[in-house]
Symmetry: D2
Subunit: 132 residues, 4 copies
Protein backbone atom coordinates (compact mmCIF):
# COMPACT_ATOMS: atom_id res chain seq x y z
CA UNK A 1 0.00 0.00 0.00
CA UNK A 2 2.83 2.38 0.86
CA UNK A 3 4.16 2.23 -2.69
CA UNK A 4 0.72 3.03 -4.10
CA UNK A 5 0.36 6.03 -1.84
CA UNK A 6 3.85 7.29 -2.70
CA UNK A 7 3.08 6.96 -6.42
CA UNK A 8 -0.31 8.66 -5.97
CA UNK A 9 1.20 11.58 -4.07
CA UNK A 10 4.00 11.99 -6.62
CA UNK A 11 1.40 12.19 -9.39
CA UNK A 12 -1.04 14.46 -7.54
CA UNK A 13 1.42 16.74 -5.76
CA UNK A 14 4.55 16.69 -7.95
CA UNK A 15 5.95 19.82 -6.33
CA UNK A 16 5.82 18.42 -2.79
CA UNK A 17 9.19 17.53 -1.29
CA UNK A 18 7.78 15.65 1.71
CA UNK A 19 8.81 11.97 1.83
CA UNK A 20 6.32 9.40 3.03
CA UNK A 21 7.91 6.92 5.42
CA UNK A 22 5.04 4.89 6.88
CA UNK A 23 1.26 4.81 6.51
CA UNK A 24 -1.26 2.69 8.38
CA UNK A 25 -2.97 2.06 11.69
CA UNK A 26 -4.77 5.38 11.46
CA UNK A 27 -1.50 7.25 11.18
CA UNK A 28 1.58 8.12 9.16
CA UNK A 29 5.19 9.23 9.43
CA UNK A 30 6.69 11.68 6.95
CA UNK A 31 9.98 13.49 6.53
CA UNK A 32 11.07 16.78 5.03
CA UNK A 33 14.72 17.29 4.23
CA UNK A 34 15.87 20.67 5.45
CA UNK A 35 18.10 22.78 3.27
CA UNK A 36 18.45 26.44 2.43
CA UNK A 37 15.01 26.58 0.82
CA UNK A 38 13.29 25.53 4.04
CA UNK A 39 15.06 27.95 6.36
CA UNK A 40 14.32 31.48 7.37
CA UNK A 41 16.79 34.01 8.73
CA UNK A 42 17.86 33.22 12.26
CA UNK A 43 18.61 29.68 11.18
CA UNK A 44 15.30 28.00 11.76
CA UNK A 45 12.74 26.14 9.71
CA UNK A 46 9.99 28.42 8.39
CA UNK A 47 6.47 28.05 9.72
CA UNK A 48 4.86 27.37 6.32
CA UNK A 49 7.27 24.45 5.79
CA UNK A 50 6.14 22.91 9.09
CA UNK A 51 2.50 23.38 8.10
CA UNK A 52 3.10 21.77 4.72
CA UNK A 53 4.70 18.73 6.37
CA UNK A 54 1.74 18.36 8.75
CA UNK A 55 -0.72 18.73 5.90
CA UNK A 56 0.90 15.89 3.93
CA UNK A 57 1.08 13.67 7.03
CA UNK A 58 -2.64 14.13 7.62
CA UNK A 59 -3.54 13.55 4.01
CA UNK A 60 -1.62 10.30 3.64
CA UNK A 61 -2.92 9.01 6.98
CA UNK A 62 -6.45 9.58 5.65
CA UNK A 63 -5.92 7.99 2.25
CA UNK A 64 -4.20 5.11 4.05
CA UNK A 65 -7.61 4.39 5.56
CA UNK A 66 -10.14 5.40 2.92
CA UNK A 67 -8.17 4.81 -0.27
CA UNK A 68 -6.74 7.12 -2.89
CA UNK A 69 -9.21 10.00 -2.81
CA UNK A 70 -7.90 12.97 -4.75
CA UNK A 71 -10.58 15.41 -3.67
CA UNK A 72 -10.18 15.47 0.08
CA UNK A 73 -9.35 19.04 1.10
CA UNK A 74 -8.03 20.62 4.26
CA UNK A 75 -10.75 22.64 5.97
CA UNK A 76 -8.82 23.81 9.02
CA UNK A 77 -5.39 23.59 10.51
CA UNK A 78 -4.32 24.72 13.96
CA UNK A 79 -0.60 24.85 14.70
CA UNK A 80 1.24 25.59 17.92
CA UNK A 81 4.93 26.38 17.56
CA UNK A 82 6.64 24.90 20.59
CA UNK A 83 10.43 25.04 20.16
CA UNK A 84 12.85 26.43 17.61
CA UNK A 85 13.55 23.72 15.04
CA UNK A 86 17.16 22.92 14.31
CA UNK A 87 18.41 24.22 10.96
CA UNK A 88 20.63 21.16 10.61
CA UNK A 89 18.13 18.38 11.14
CA UNK A 90 15.33 17.14 8.94
CA UNK A 91 11.73 17.51 10.09
CA UNK A 92 9.78 14.38 10.99
CA UNK A 93 5.99 14.47 11.17
CA UNK A 94 4.08 11.82 13.09
CA UNK A 95 0.34 11.79 12.45
CA UNK A 96 -2.40 10.04 14.39
CA UNK A 97 -6.01 10.27 13.25
CA UNK A 98 -8.48 11.22 15.98
CA UNK A 99 -11.61 10.69 13.92
CA UNK A 100 -12.41 9.30 10.53
CA UNK A 101 -16.03 10.14 9.76
CA UNK A 102 -17.98 10.08 6.54
CA UNK A 103 -17.58 13.77 5.81
CA UNK A 104 -14.81 14.89 8.17
CA UNK A 105 -11.49 13.47 9.31
CA UNK A 106 -9.56 14.98 12.21
CA UNK A 107 -5.97 14.20 13.12
CA UNK A 108 -3.03 15.48 15.09
CA UNK A 109 0.57 15.74 13.96
CA UNK A 110 3.63 16.11 16.15
CA UNK A 111 6.60 17.63 14.35
CA UNK A 112 10.17 16.92 15.41
CA UNK A 113 13.68 17.91 14.48
CA UNK A 114 14.97 14.44 13.64
CA UNK A 115 16.60 12.71 16.56
CA UNK A 116 15.21 15.04 19.21
CA UNK A 117 12.68 13.97 21.77
CA UNK A 118 10.56 17.06 22.22
CA UNK A 119 8.32 18.27 19.40
CA UNK A 120 9.00 21.59 17.66
CA UNK A 121 5.33 22.05 16.76
CA UNK A 122 1.94 20.39 17.15
CA UNK A 123 -0.86 20.50 14.60
CA UNK A 124 -4.52 19.55 14.66
CA UNK A 125 -6.09 19.49 11.22
CA UNK A 126 -9.42 18.70 9.65
CA UNK A 127 -10.07 17.31 6.19
CA UNK A 128 -13.35 17.28 4.34
CA UNK A 129 -13.98 13.97 2.59
CA UNK A 130 -15.94 14.09 -0.66
CA UNK A 131 -19.07 11.97 -0.97
CA UNK A 132 -18.55 8.78 -2.94
Amino acid sequence: MLDNIIAFMAAEFPQSTVKIMTVGDQGSTVKQEIGVDQLRPGGTVSGPVLMAVADVALYVAIIGEIGLVPLAVTTSLNINFLRKPSSERDIIGVCKLLKLGKVLAVGEVSLYSEGQEEPVAHVVGTYSIPPK
Copy 2:
Protein backbone atom coordinates in the same frame (compact mmCIF):
# COMPACT_ATOMS: atom_id res chain seq x y z
CA MET B 1 1.53 16.69 45.98
CA LEU B 2 -1.84 15.51 44.69
CA ASP B 3 -3.49 16.40 48.00
CA ASN B 4 -2.02 19.88 47.92
CA ILE B 5 -3.29 20.46 44.40
CA ILE B 6 -6.75 19.17 45.26
CA ALA B 7 -6.90 21.48 48.29
CA PHE B 8 -5.63 24.41 46.23
CA MET B 9 -8.19 23.87 43.50
CA ALA B 10 -11.03 23.51 46.04
CA ALA B 11 -10.03 26.85 47.57
CA GLU B 12 -9.44 28.69 44.30
CA PHE B 13 -12.28 27.22 42.24
CA PRO B 14 -14.94 26.21 44.77
CA GLN B 15 -17.64 25.99 42.12
CA SER B 16 -15.74 23.51 39.95
CA THR B 17 -17.09 19.97 40.01
CA VAL B 18 -14.12 18.41 38.20
CA LYS B 19 -12.29 15.79 40.28
CA ILE B 20 -8.51 15.55 40.05
CA MET B 21 -7.35 11.95 39.78
CA THR B 22 -3.64 12.11 38.98
CA VAL B 23 -1.09 14.84 38.43
CA GLY B 24 2.55 14.52 37.42
CA ASP B 25 4.98 13.65 34.64
CA GLN B 26 3.86 16.69 32.64
CA GLY B 27 0.27 15.51 32.66
CA SER B 28 -2.92 14.92 34.59
CA THR B 29 -6.10 12.88 34.65
CA VAL B 30 -9.41 14.39 35.75
CA LYS B 31 -13.02 13.27 35.92
CA GLN B 32 -16.39 15.00 35.67
CA GLU B 33 -19.44 13.18 36.93
CA ILE B 34 -22.25 13.46 34.42
CA GLY B 35 -25.76 14.16 35.64
CA VAL B 36 -28.72 16.22 34.49
CA ASP B 37 -26.80 19.49 34.89
CA GLN B 38 -24.12 18.43 32.41
CA LEU B 39 -26.46 17.24 29.68
CA ARG B 40 -28.12 19.02 26.81
CA PRO B 41 -31.19 17.90 24.94
CA GLY B 42 -30.55 14.93 22.74
CA GLY B 43 -28.92 13.17 25.67
CA THR B 44 -25.35 14.26 25.29
CA VAL B 45 -22.81 16.14 27.34
CA SER B 46 -22.78 19.85 26.56
CA GLY B 47 -19.77 21.40 24.83
CA PRO B 48 -19.01 23.93 27.59
CA VAL B 49 -18.82 21.07 30.13
CA LEU B 50 -16.21 19.35 27.97
CA MET B 51 -14.25 22.57 27.65
CA ALA B 52 -14.36 23.12 31.40
CA VAL B 53 -12.99 19.63 32.03
CA ALA B 54 -10.13 20.22 29.60
CA ASP B 55 -9.36 23.59 31.14
CA VAL B 56 -9.01 22.06 34.62
CA ALA B 57 -6.88 19.19 33.30
CA LEU B 58 -4.48 21.65 31.69
CA TYR B 59 -4.33 23.88 34.75
CA VAL B 60 -3.53 21.10 37.21
CA ALA B 61 -0.95 19.59 34.84
CA ILE B 62 0.78 22.99 34.79
CA ILE B 63 0.69 23.59 38.54
CA GLY B 64 1.89 20.01 39.00
CA GLU B 65 5.10 21.19 37.32
CA ILE B 66 5.54 24.81 38.34
CA GLY B 67 3.82 24.86 41.74
CA LEU B 68 0.60 26.43 42.99
CA VAL B 69 0.38 29.53 40.83
CA PRO B 70 -3.03 31.15 41.16
CA LEU B 71 -2.59 33.67 38.38
CA ALA B 72 -2.01 31.46 35.38
CA VAL B 73 -4.77 32.16 32.86
CA THR B 74 -6.00 30.40 29.75
CA THR B 75 -5.10 32.38 26.66
CA SER B 76 -6.51 30.07 24.02
CA LEU B 77 -8.38 26.82 23.72
CA ASN B 78 -9.05 24.86 20.55
CA ILE B 79 -11.55 22.01 20.78
CA ASN B 80 -12.56 19.43 18.19
CA PHE B 81 -15.73 17.50 18.92
CA LEU B 82 -15.16 13.98 17.63
CA ARG B 83 -17.98 11.70 18.82
CA LYS B 84 -21.20 12.08 20.76
CA PRO B 85 -20.45 11.56 24.46
CA SER B 86 -22.59 9.08 26.34
CA SER B 87 -25.12 10.63 28.69
CA GLU B 88 -24.62 7.76 31.09
CA ARG B 89 -20.88 7.79 31.52
CA ASP B 90 -18.62 10.22 33.31
CA ILE B 91 -16.12 12.24 31.32
CA ILE B 92 -12.42 11.52 31.75
CA GLY B 93 -9.82 14.07 30.66
CA VAL B 94 -6.24 13.02 30.03
CA CYS B 95 -3.79 15.90 29.67
CA LYS B 96 -0.24 15.89 28.37
CA LEU B 97 1.82 19.06 28.33
CA LEU B 98 3.52 19.80 25.02
CA LYS B 99 5.57 22.76 26.23
CA LEU B 100 6.24 24.38 29.54
CA GLY B 101 7.99 27.66 28.87
CA LYS B 102 8.60 30.67 31.07
CA VAL B 103 5.63 32.64 29.81
CA LEU B 104 3.50 30.07 27.95
CA ALA B 105 2.47 26.49 28.56
CA VAL B 106 0.79 24.42 25.86
CA GLY B 107 -0.94 21.11 26.38
CA GLU B 108 -3.35 18.71 24.78
CA VAL B 109 -6.29 16.96 26.43
CA SER B 110 -8.12 13.90 25.17
CA LEU B 111 -11.65 13.60 26.55
CA TYR B 112 -13.37 10.22 26.90
CA SER B 113 -16.70 8.83 27.98
CA GLU B 114 -15.40 6.64 30.79
CA GLY B 115 -14.65 3.10 29.70
CA GLN B 116 -14.65 3.85 25.99
CA GLU B 117 -11.57 3.69 23.87
CA GLU B 118 -12.10 6.47 21.37
CA PRO B 119 -12.06 10.11 22.48
CA VAL B 120 -15.22 12.23 22.32
CA ALA B 121 -13.22 15.44 21.96
CA HIS B 122 -9.67 16.71 21.70
CA VAL B 123 -8.41 20.01 23.07
CA VAL B 124 -5.23 22.01 22.66
CA GLY B 125 -4.92 24.85 25.13
CA THR B 126 -2.44 27.56 26.05
CA TYR B 127 -1.87 29.11 29.43
CA SER B 128 -0.03 32.32 30.18
CA ILE B 129 2.24 31.97 33.20
CA PRO B 130 2.73 35.09 35.32
CA PRO B 131 6.28 36.32 35.96
CA LYS B 132 7.64 35.37 39.38
Copy 3:
Protein backbone atom coordinates in the same frame (compact mmCIF):
# COMPACT_ATOMS: atom_id res chain seq x y z
CA MET C 1 -38.18 35.19 11.97
CA LEU C 2 -36.53 36.27 15.23
CA ASP C 3 -39.56 35.12 17.22
CA ASN C 4 -39.49 31.72 15.54
CA ILE C 5 -35.83 31.28 16.32
CA ILE C 6 -36.29 32.34 19.94
CA ALA C 7 -39.16 29.87 20.33
CA PHE C 8 -37.15 27.12 18.65
CA MET C 9 -34.14 27.67 20.88
CA ALA C 10 -36.29 27.77 24.01
CA ALA C 11 -37.77 24.41 23.03
CA GLU C 12 -34.52 22.78 21.94
CA PHE C 13 -32.19 24.22 24.56
CA PRO C 14 -34.40 24.95 27.58
CA GLN C 15 -31.45 25.18 29.96
CA SER C 16 -29.65 27.87 27.93
CA THR C 17 -29.72 31.35 29.48
CA VAL C 18 -28.40 33.15 26.41
CA LYS C 19 -30.82 35.74 24.99
CA ILE C 20 -31.10 36.16 21.25
CA MET C 21 -31.17 39.82 20.28
CA THR C 22 -30.84 39.90 16.48
CA VAL C 23 -30.48 37.33 13.73
CA GLY C 24 -29.98 37.91 10.02
CA ASP C 25 -27.58 39.07 7.32
CA GLN C 26 -25.32 36.08 7.97
CA GLY C 27 -24.95 37.05 11.61
CA SER C 28 -26.45 37.39 15.06
CA THR C 29 -26.21 39.25 18.33
CA VAL C 30 -26.79 37.51 21.65
CA LYS C 31 -26.54 38.45 25.31
CA GLN C 32 -25.77 36.56 28.51
CA GLU C 33 -26.71 38.17 31.81
CA ILE C 34 -23.85 37.88 34.25
CA GLY C 35 -24.57 36.93 37.85
CA VAL C 36 -22.93 34.80 40.51
CA ASP C 37 -23.41 31.62 38.47
CA GLN C 38 -21.36 32.95 35.58
CA LEU C 39 -18.41 34.18 37.61
CA ARG C 40 -15.26 32.49 38.77
CA PRO C 41 -13.04 33.56 41.66
CA GLY C 42 -11.11 36.70 40.91
CA GLY C 43 -14.31 38.34 39.77
CA THR C 44 -14.38 37.45 36.14
CA VAL C 45 -16.64 35.58 33.75
CA SER C 46 -15.67 31.93 33.41
CA GLY C 47 -14.27 30.64 30.12
CA PRO C 48 -16.98 28.00 29.57
CA VAL C 49 -19.65 30.70 29.86
CA LEU C 50 -17.95 32.68 27.10
CA MET C 51 -17.73 29.58 24.94
CA ALA C 52 -21.40 28.80 25.50
CA VAL C 53 -22.38 32.33 24.43
CA ALA C 54 -20.29 32.02 21.26
CA ASP C 55 -21.77 28.61 20.49
CA VAL C 56 -25.33 29.95 20.67
CA ALA C 57 -24.44 33.00 18.57
CA LEU C 58 -23.03 30.75 15.85
CA TYR C 59 -25.96 28.38 15.96
CA VAL C 60 -28.65 31.04 15.62
CA ALA C 61 -26.71 32.80 12.86
CA ILE C 62 -26.71 29.52 10.94
CA ILE C 63 -30.37 28.70 11.45
CA GLY C 64 -31.18 32.29 10.53
CA GLU C 65 -29.86 31.38 7.08
CA ILE C 66 -30.75 27.72 6.58
CA GLY C 67 -33.88 27.41 8.69
CA LEU C 68 -34.66 25.62 11.95
CA VAL C 69 -32.32 22.63 11.75
CA PRO C 70 -32.13 20.83 15.07
CA LEU C 71 -29.30 18.50 14.12
CA ALA C 72 -26.52 20.90 13.30
CA VAL C 73 -23.65 20.21 15.68
CA THR C 74 -20.49 22.07 16.60
CA THR C 75 -17.43 20.32 15.20
CA SER C 76 -14.75 22.71 16.40
CA LEU C 77 -14.37 25.86 18.39
CA ASN C 78 -11.25 27.97 18.78
CA ILE C 79 -11.29 30.68 21.44
CA ASN C 80 -8.73 33.35 22.25
CA PHE C 81 -9.15 35.08 25.59
CA LEU C 82 -8.12 38.68 25.07
CA ARG C 83 -9.05 40.75 28.13
CA LYS C 84 -10.52 40.10 31.56
CA PRO C 85 -14.30 40.45 31.31
CA SER C 86 -16.02 42.71 33.80
CA SER C 87 -17.94 40.88 36.53
CA GLU C 88 -20.54 43.63 36.50
CA ARG C 89 -21.45 43.77 32.84
CA ASP C 90 -23.38 41.35 30.69
CA ILE C 91 -21.63 39.57 27.86
CA ILE C 92 -22.58 40.45 24.29
CA GLY C 93 -21.72 38.11 21.43
CA VAL C 94 -21.61 39.37 17.86
CA CYS C 95 -21.42 36.64 15.23
CA LYS C 96 -20.59 36.91 11.56
CA LEU C 97 -20.65 33.86 9.32
CA LEU C 98 -17.55 33.39 7.18
CA LYS C 99 -18.86 30.49 5.14
CA LEU C 100 -22.15 28.71 4.78
CA GLY C 101 -21.55 25.56 2.80
CA LYS C 102 -23.65 22.48 2.28
CA VAL C 103 -21.92 20.43 4.96
CA LEU C 104 -19.95 22.97 6.97
CA ALA C 105 -20.59 26.47 8.29
CA VAL C 106 -17.80 28.61 9.72
CA GLY C 107 -18.26 31.79 11.69
CA GLU C 108 -16.50 34.15 14.02
CA VAL C 109 -17.83 35.65 17.22
CA SER C 110 -16.50 38.67 19.06
CA LEU C 111 -17.43 38.72 22.74
CA TYR C 112 -17.72 41.97 24.69
CA SER C 113 -18.42 43.14 28.21
CA GLU C 114 -21.49 45.22 27.40
CA GLY C 115 -20.70 48.86 26.73
CA GLN C 116 -16.99 48.33 26.22
CA GLU C 117 -15.29 48.77 22.90
CA GLU C 118 -12.60 46.11 22.94
CA PRO C 119 -13.53 42.42 22.84
CA VAL C 120 -12.85 40.15 25.83
CA ALA C 121 -12.59 37.08 23.63
CA HIS C 122 -12.71 36.00 20.00
CA VAL C 123 -14.07 32.70 18.73
CA VAL C 124 -13.97 30.88 15.41
CA GLY C 125 -16.31 27.92 15.26
CA THR C 126 -17.40 25.31 12.77
CA TYR C 127 -20.76 23.59 12.54
CA SER C 128 -21.58 20.44 10.64
CA ILE C 129 -24.87 20.73 8.78
CA PRO C 130 -26.89 17.53 8.37
CA PRO C 131 -27.88 16.44 4.86
CA LYS C 132 -31.49 17.28 3.98
Copy 4:
Protein backbone atom coordinates in the same frame (compact mmCIF):
# COMPACT_ATOMS: atom_id res chain seq x y z
CA MET D 1 6.67 54.38 8.58
CA LEU D 2 5.57 52.08 5.75
CA ASP D 3 8.92 52.53 4.00
CA ASN D 4 10.80 51.63 7.18
CA ILE D 5 8.76 48.48 7.65
CA ILE D 6 9.21 47.44 4.03
CA ALA D 7 12.98 47.94 4.32
CA PHE D 8 13.06 46.06 7.63
CA MET D 9 11.13 43.12 6.23
CA ALA D 10 13.30 42.99 3.11
CA ALA D 11 16.41 42.81 5.32
CA GLU D 12 15.00 40.34 7.86
CA PHE D 13 13.04 38.09 5.49
CA PRO D 14 14.79 38.42 2.13
CA GLN D 15 13.16 35.26 0.76
CA SER D 16 9.58 36.47 1.43
CA THR D 17 7.63 37.44 -1.66
CA VAL D 18 4.74 39.06 0.21
CA LYS D 19 4.31 42.77 -0.56
CA ILE D 20 3.32 45.14 2.20
CA MET D 21 0.61 47.56 1.07
CA THR D 22 -0.55 49.37 4.20
CA VAL D 23 0.31 49.27 7.89
CA GLY D 24 -1.31 51.16 10.75
CA ASP D 25 -4.39 51.52 12.92
CA GLN D 26 -3.77 48.11 14.47
CA GLY D 27 -3.83 46.43 11.09
CA SER D 28 -2.20 45.84 7.74
CA THR D 29 -2.87 44.91 4.14
CA VAL D 30 -0.49 42.67 2.19
CA LYS D 31 -0.41 41.05 -1.23
CA GLN D 32 1.10 37.91 -2.67
CA GLU D 33 1.44 37.62 -6.42
CA ILE D 34 0.25 34.23 -7.61
CA GLY D 35 2.24 32.36 -10.21
CA VAL D 36 3.22 28.78 -10.88
CA ASP D 37 5.24 28.56 -7.66
CA GLN D 38 2.22 29.33 -5.50
CA LEU D 39 -0.18 26.88 -7.11
CA ARG D 40 -0.92 23.26 -6.42
CA PRO D 41 -2.48 20.78 -8.83
CA GLY D 42 -6.15 21.45 -9.39
CA GLY D 43 -5.34 25.07 -10.08
CA THR D 44 -5.57 26.56 -6.65
CA VAL D 45 -3.28 28.41 -4.26
CA SER D 46 -1.53 26.07 -1.83
CA GLY D 47 -2.38 26.19 1.88
CA PRO D 48 1.15 26.98 3.05
CA VAL D 49 1.21 30.02 0.75
CA LEU D 50 -1.99 31.32 2.37
CA MET D 51 -0.53 30.73 5.83
CA ALA D 52 2.67 32.55 4.90
CA VAL D 53 0.67 35.56 3.70
CA ALA D 54 -1.30 35.65 6.95
CA ASP D 55 1.87 35.34 9.01
CA VAL D 56 3.45 38.35 7.31
CA ALA D 57 0.24 40.38 7.65
CA LEU D 58 0.17 39.72 11.39
CA TYR D 59 3.84 40.47 11.85
CA VAL D 60 3.79 43.81 10.07
CA ALA D 61 0.59 44.84 11.87
CA ILE D 62 2.38 44.19 15.17
CA ILE D 63 5.61 45.99 14.30
CA GLY D 64 3.48 48.85 12.97
CA GLU D 65 2.37 49.31 16.58
CA ILE D 66 5.37 48.33 18.70
CA GLY D 67 8.26 49.20 16.38
CA LEU D 68 10.77 47.12 14.48
CA VAL D 69 11.18 44.12 16.80
CA PRO D 70 13.06 41.32 15.05
CA LEU D 71 12.47 38.70 17.72
CA ALA D 72 8.70 38.45 17.81
CA VAL D 73 7.77 34.87 16.91
CA THR D 74 4.54 33.19 15.92
CA THR D 75 3.29 30.94 18.72
CA SER D 76 0.10 29.69 17.13
CA LEU D 77 -1.85 29.98 13.92
CA ASN D 78 -5.36 28.72 13.25
CA ILE D 79 -6.55 28.73 9.65
CA ASN D 80 -9.94 27.90 8.20
CA PHE D 81 -10.04 27.31 4.46
CA LEU D 82 -13.34 28.72 3.22
CA ARG D 83 -13.38 28.77 -0.58
CA LYS D 84 -11.12 27.67 -3.39
CA PRO D 85 -8.80 30.55 -4.25
CA SER D 86 -8.57 31.55 -7.89
CA SER D 87 -5.35 30.50 -9.61
CA GLU D 88 -5.45 33.69 -11.67
CA ARG D 89 -5.79 36.29 -8.97
CA ASP D 90 -3.31 37.53 -6.40
CA ILE D 91 -3.97 36.92 -2.73
CA ILE D 92 -4.77 39.90 -0.51
CA GLY D 93 -4.45 39.61 3.27
CA VAL D 94 -6.24 42.07 5.55
CA CYS D 95 -5.12 41.93 9.18
CA LYS D 96 -6.74 43.44 12.23
CA LEU D 97 -5.15 43.09 15.65
CA LEU D 98 -7.47 41.87 18.39
CA LYS D 99 -5.08 42.36 21.26
CA LEU D 100 -1.67 43.90 21.71
CA GLY D 101 -0.41 42.92 25.14
CA LYS D 102 3.05 43.07 26.67
CA VAL D 103 3.88 39.44 25.97
CA LEU D 104 1.26 38.34 23.44
CA ALA D 105 -0.38 39.86 20.39
CA VAL D 106 -3.43 38.28 18.76
CA GLY D 107 -4.82 39.18 15.37
CA GLU D 108 -7.10 37.94 12.65
CA VAL D 109 -6.44 37.94 8.91
CA SER D 110 -8.99 37.60 6.14
CA LEU D 111 -7.50 36.32 2.90
CA TYR D 112 -9.06 37.14 -0.48
CA SER D 113 -8.55 36.36 -4.12
CA GLU D 114 -8.04 39.93 -5.30
CA GLY D 115 -11.24 41.59 -6.46
CA GLN D 116 -13.56 39.06 -4.87
CA GLU D 117 -15.81 39.87 -1.98
CA GLU D 118 -15.84 36.66 0.00
CA PRO D 119 -12.70 35.48 1.80
CA VAL D 120 -10.90 32.30 0.71
CA ALA D 121 -9.52 31.71 4.19
CA HIS D 122 -9.55 33.17 7.69
CA VAL D 123 -6.66 33.08 10.15
CA VAL D 124 -6.27 33.84 13.83
CA GLY D 125 -2.67 34.01 14.94
CA THR D 126 -0.71 34.74 18.10
CA TYR D 127 2.73 36.27 18.38
CA SER D 128 4.99 36.24 21.40
CA ILE D 129 6.62 39.62 21.98
CA PRO D 130 10.11 39.59 23.52
CA PRO D 131 10.71 41.57 26.72
CA LYS D 132 12.43 44.90 26.11
